[in-house]
Every structure is written in C-alpha cells, then in structure tokens.
Symmetry: C2
Subunit: 201 residues, 2 copies
Amino acid sequence: MTMDLQTGRCGVDGAAAAARRVIDALVRAGDISGADMAGIADRLNAVADDLEAQAPPLRDRLVNMWRGDGNTRHDPAAGPENPIAPPLAYTGRPDGSIESTVTLGLPYQGPPSSVHGGVSALLLDHTLGVANGRAGTSGMTAELTLRYHRPTPLFEPLTVTARQVSVDGRKIRTTGAIAAAGRTCVTAEGLFIAKPLPRPR
Amino acid sequence: MTMDLQTGRCGVDGAAAAARRVIDALVRAGDISGADMAGIADRLNAVADDLEAQAPPLRDRLVNMWRGDGNTRHDPAAGPENPIAPPLAYTGRPDGSIESTVTLGLPYQGPPSSVHGGVSALLLDHTLGVANGRAGTSGMTAELTLRYHRPTPLFEPLTVTARQVSVDGRKIRTTGAIAAAGRTCVTAEGLFIAKPLPRPR
C-alpha cells in the first residue's frame, strides 16, 4: 500500500475517488452533453484493460479483502476502495451509537432530486452492521424494515446514525435513521443473526 | 443521442458500461495489484475533467432525466446510463409480474463472496417500483421489509422478480424476491403511496 503524501490517501483510494468523479460526471452528462462519449468509453476501457492485466487472482484478492479486524475497505456503502460507495466514514458518539455525514449526488437519485429509497436501504443496512461491529457482536442481516417518512434530499448533508439495541442469544436488534437538517427522512429496524459466514483463507 | 452501430448502445450507455468495468477492476485490484494507481487516478481525473467541462446545467439535466414515459435511464439499479447500476433489464411474465436476471461481481459484495444485504434491498426496492409502474399505479416507497433467507451469491445468475399485489385507495402493496439456482435468497414486501413527487420542468 502506498500513501500519497499530498492527499494522505492510499493509491487505490485515490483511484476510487477519481472513479467516483467519473460516475457523477457521466450521470450528469447523460445524452445531452457535448462530450465525445465514444472517446470517453475508449479511455475508460483502456484503464479497465490496464487494471485487469495487473489483477491478482480472485482468490488472493478475496483472502486479502477479509484479512484483519473485520473493518472492510471494499464494501459498496463505506468502502474507500469501492467507487460505488459514497463512501461513509463513521464516528462514535457518547451513547454508543455511530454517525456519518454524507452528501449524495445524481448517481444516487430515485424520485426527482431525492435519494433512491434503495440507496437509503443500502446505507442503513451497512450502518446498522457497523454499529453491531463496534458494539462487539456482529451478525448477518435476517430482517430489515425501512420506513420512509419524507423524501431524502440529494445535494444536502445527510446524517446517518445507528445503534445496537439488544443482543438476545444469537438475535441482535439494531436501529438507525437518515436525517436532513434535523428532520428524520428514513428509519430502519434490523434483526441480525450472530453467525457470520466463514472468511476466505 | 447517438447509437453505436457495432454495440447497439447509445453513446452514454457505452461510456457507463466502460465505467462499470473500471469499478469492477479497481475493487478486484485493491492494494495488492501491480497497477500504477497514481497514474490510473490521473487518467480517471482527466476523463472527469473533460466530462465536467461539457456538462449541461444541473437544472437542464434534471428536466431531461424526467422527460418521457416515466421509465428512467439514470437510476442506480436499472439505469443503463448509471455506472453504479448493474444494470437490471426487465421482462414481463404472463402473470403480470416482472423479472430480471443479473450476475453481480465484487463491487456489490457484503459478506464474503455474497451480495451485500443493502444491495439486495436496492435492487428489490427498485424492482417493486418498476412492477408498480408496469401495473399502472406507481408510488413512493413508504415501508419496505426485507427478509434474508440465505446468502445471495456473487458470480452466479440471480433472478429478481416483483409483482403488484393490491391497490387500495392510495396504498399500493407489492412483493418481490431474489433467487439463485431456484432457491429464494431474499424476499421483499413494500407499501407504496401513490403520490409521486412533481417532476422538474
């Protein structure tokens, strides 16, 4: 892993951040941009060709991904290595909950100028899982219920929070929410089962 | 909109497909690839710079996105213009349900070698919404409940289905599922309210 001294980012994180800019700019452009889309496709395919030529075997990468303390860097919600992830960065709060602030752009749109309900579900499912990890008992999602109270705005800071509520045998209950300007947009209740899948070795 | 005669894809769709290859290759590479990540970041930032220099005003793009029959091309689940979307393509079935087959790779990973529970939620929320549209009565998601019956595998064809169950006044009830090799992995029940947000004009 190499660190960029100027940005403080590891190499792959910087490339993922640049890929996020490409995703956002492509969705912004659509088919009404003056950009040479065939040329853009050629340049992106050339980048993909070069990355694929240097790719480690899938099995090696899976082992590498799952090494360590359980905090993954590749997931599609909080992973700095994954261009799909906004990404979320979490801080702990005194009451044991966790919190992240994020602003989402056009690639995450569902209804007009609003966050896709499924994207809210992705961010909440992941955040509930991270809250479980920080509380010391993790599990696989068994059931997740989302309630949408009002549209979640794009282009404004959102606060994503979660808190582990109880652990009863292998059953873990966790709640979370997304709020904008202090108003709750989405709430989530999750039931998790403390039986993680084995890690690749 | 320009069509590539060889691929049959419109310009922006081809660029989005190439961006999907970049996303997949970056997550595959991580920090154990031999690739020059600083150079990759420079090339991707240059593509983003060029796209941003040609970008239409945001308001124009929003109006453009929401023009037409309600089938959007930019969303993060089924949108061919959105590199975050796998994307899903739907076919109708004789019983009024809709179906899509998709194989997901590393960028969509949650548990080891499995689809992230939140990604399943994203695909199902969207598919329920499309089923509502095809049935003739659409709405905003009010409540979504997901049940995870077994891990959803990466790298294998998944069948995503949905069906509108009932319309009672403004309340729409819709169900869906994700299956792999004929076995149900995730089921979803959604309550939608038939009060769409106004479209940008």
